[in-house]
């Protein structure tokens, strides 16, 4: 078990997948992170050297991920609404924000779009 940014990962997991388990890190970001510390993409968590784990943790703590990122997204939506923009209004109404049609196929928007958006 290896701790990365305070989260415990089993040794057999891929490092790439472990990184992607953080909110705000996807395929590309994780690939770039790995390249930065010369970790090959098929590396398992158990194979990481101590220094690499520390490096990764340090790099992750500098990034805006997890709750910081969630808070920022919610603030952005709120700001849109408060400045009275169309996008803010659509968020509040639970309708698609980016000009999609609304006659059909807006289930995702109904489910997700609101002021206090669930992330």
């Amino acid at each position: 078990m290896v701790f990365i940014l305070g989260v415990n990962f089993p040794e057999r997991n891929l490092v790439k997948k472990a990184l992607q388990s953080f909110f705000g890190i996807g395929n590309d970001t994780s690939a770039r992170l790995l390249a930065r510390f010369h970790i090959h993409p098929t590396c398992k968590v158990g194979e990481l050297a101590n220094k690499q784990v520390l490096d990764l943790t340090a790099a992750l703590s500098d990034m805006k991920i997890e709750n910081d990122l969630r808070r920022q997204i919610l603030e952005d939506i709120k700001r849109l609404k408060e400045t009275g923009t169309i996008r803010g209004r659509r968020h509040a109404l639970g309708l698609p924000v980016r000009g999609q049609r609304t006659r059909t196929q807006i289930k995702t928007a109904i489910k997700l779009n609101r002021i206090e958006r669930r992330l």
Binding site: A35, F37, H40, R89, A92, I115
Partner: protein, 501 residues
């Protein structure tokens, strides 16, 4: 008419309904955007059972479908599938023993009378061949009693070269450099296997890279070589694996040779220790694997000892280097630099070292004690198709044939085609200055001749796999069906059972 009520009273009046209407905060914050007052909106009816169905859900009877019960709940243990996939079976106890089958030995490997016969690989050597991963899982060794290979023309020719390099004649210590290519299933990997077997017979030191693709597919760890060379990358685990292969397969040879050079970068290398122990340092500590490999290479390519260590020195044997799947090394690897740029395969020191051997040495041959470099373009591991490499191979052949690189006959890449100058640079080896060093050649393996095909099919028949009389007609038929004697196809036809009407 003037209303008896003043404006102030009216405002008072308007305050009144607020108490009975729902409070605006209860409706929605979003009400501010509506054009119609939210307070007049119809109060939603209390939801009954029917309306509990979600938006646009089907209201028909929703019978839960039976889920398929998976009987095989537990997957096989970790690593088992890969082990099965990579398993190499070298013997089939049901197949008949071929009587009078000659063994590969010093005499048979140069005996041209045996051309076209299948010779068995000596049983004690099988462990060595397994150690260098000479056998591939899909080569069909598993249907015969014991592994054997057919002596084709190219094999005997190679045997003669090996004989000369090891012998006492004027060709002693010559270096041959070859890139072996050929169509699918034409026996390139088995050709390398034969070379390794001959190397073991002649007591050479054999270095092999059985899967060149594994070095560039980003499945091994990598790290920058040093702070001075941030653009070169070292693969410690792959190097350690190479050392362990070499140490295991060449145990008999390496345990008799002793360290006779100074290795300032490697403190663990004591003068007088055997080279086998030296290699094992790198196996045990992968972090130092590359340094150990360099030290080992320096030892094996030395022609004399440094002053003070003469008593440890014994003449070094020739070296055989085989690489299977050269095309993988001619393009970008899957590794990424810290700036997320793809790393070229030639920037990996492992690859760079083995490619640099193709070039002629500076003042002495690249292998001063003689030996052979056989690099094959394998087709089993789905190699990339690199245009520059194809053209470079043609250039190698032309240069070997004596075509002047400035002449119009010299093959050039097509104009406006995307080429990789590093590939051309790596394969453009001019005529070597040292007399004992051969020029880089391009050998194309084609089909076997009909006589060789006949010997091969007879081997099938004598193993009890092919139940037909081997006559010219049958051999001609199979030879033609196999695309002109492509040996892998012949093998497939040989094991196919033909059923009479």
């Amino acid at each position: 008419m003037v209303s008896p009520l003043c404006w102030g009273c009216l405002t008072l009046l308007r305050q009144a309904p607020r108490t009975i209407l729902p409070s605006p905060t209860a409706v929605s914050q979003a009400a501010a955007f509506h054009t119609s007052a939210a307070i007049y909106a119809r109060v939603p009816a209390p939801r009954g059972r029917d309306s509990a169905v979600g938006y646009r859900r089907s209201t028909s009877a929703n019978i839960k479908k039976k889920r398929k019960v998976s009987e095989r709940a537990r997957p096989p243990p970790v690593g088992e599938r890969k082990a099965l996939r990579k398993r190499i079976v070298l013997s089939n106890p049901n197949a008949l023993e071929v009587e009078g089958m000659p063994e590969l030995s010093e005499e048979t490997m140069v005996d041209s009378r045996l051309r076209g016969t299948v010779v068995g690989l000596p049983v004690p050597m099988l462990d060595q061949l397994r150690a260098v991963q000479a056998f591939k899982p899909k080569q069909g060794w598993s249907i015969f009693r014991r592994p054997g290979t057919v002596l084709r023309r190219e094999t005997l020719e190679m045997g003669r070269l090996f004989e000369n390099i090891s012998g006492e004649g004027e060709d002693r210590g010559v270096v041959i450099k070859r890139i072996i290519s050929g169509q699918r299933k034409s026996g390139k990997s088995v050709h390398l296997l034969q070379a390794m077997a001959m190397g073991f017979i002649k007591k050479w030191v054999v270095f092999t890279v059985p899967e060149a693709g594994e070095l560039v597919s980003a499945t091994n760890s990598y790290a920058p070589l040093s702070d001075e060379n941030p653009h070169l990358y070292v693969q410690n685990e792959a190097t350690a694996a190479l050392l362990s292969r070499t140490a295991a397969a060449n145990k008999a040879v390496l345990s008799k040779l002793r360290v006779s050079q100074h290795h300032p970068t490697l403190s663990a290398a004591k003068p007088g220790m055997t080279l086998e122990d030296l290699a094992k340092i790198g196996v045990q500590d992968p972090a130092s694997a590359w340094t150990v490999f360099q030290a080992l290479w320096l030892e094996l390519t030395s022609t004399s000892a440094v002053p003070g260590l003469e008593k440890n020195f014994t003449p070094r044997p020739p070296i055989l280097v085989t690489v299977d799947g050269l095309a993988h090394w001619m393009t970008h690897s899957k590794y990424r630099s810290a700036q997320f740029e793809p790393i070229h395969a030639h920037d990996l020191v492992f690859v760079r070292h083995f490619l640099s051997l193709l070039k002629p040495g500076q003042d002495k041959p690249t292998l001063p004690n003689g030996g052979a470099l056989l690099y094959a373009t394998s087709t089993t591991t789905n190699p990339p198709s690199v245009y520059s490499f194809d053209v470079a191979l043609k250039q190698v052949a032309a240069r070997h044939a004596g075509v002047d690189p400035s002449s119009p006959e010299f093959p050039q890449p097509e104009a406006y085609s995307k080429t990789d100058p590093r590939v051309f640079e790596a394969l453009s080896s001019p005529k070597p200055t040292a007399a004992k060093e051969g020029m880089l050649e391009h050998q194309v393996l084609g089909g076997v001749t009909r006589d060789e095909a006949r010997g091969f099919l007879e081997y099938f028949a004598r193993s009890g796999l092919l139940r037909e009389t081997i006559n010219d007609e049958l051999v001609g038929e199979k030879w033609t069906l196999a695309g002109g004697g492509v040996i892998g196809e012949l093998e497939r036809l040989g094991r196919r059972v033909r059923v009479a009407a």
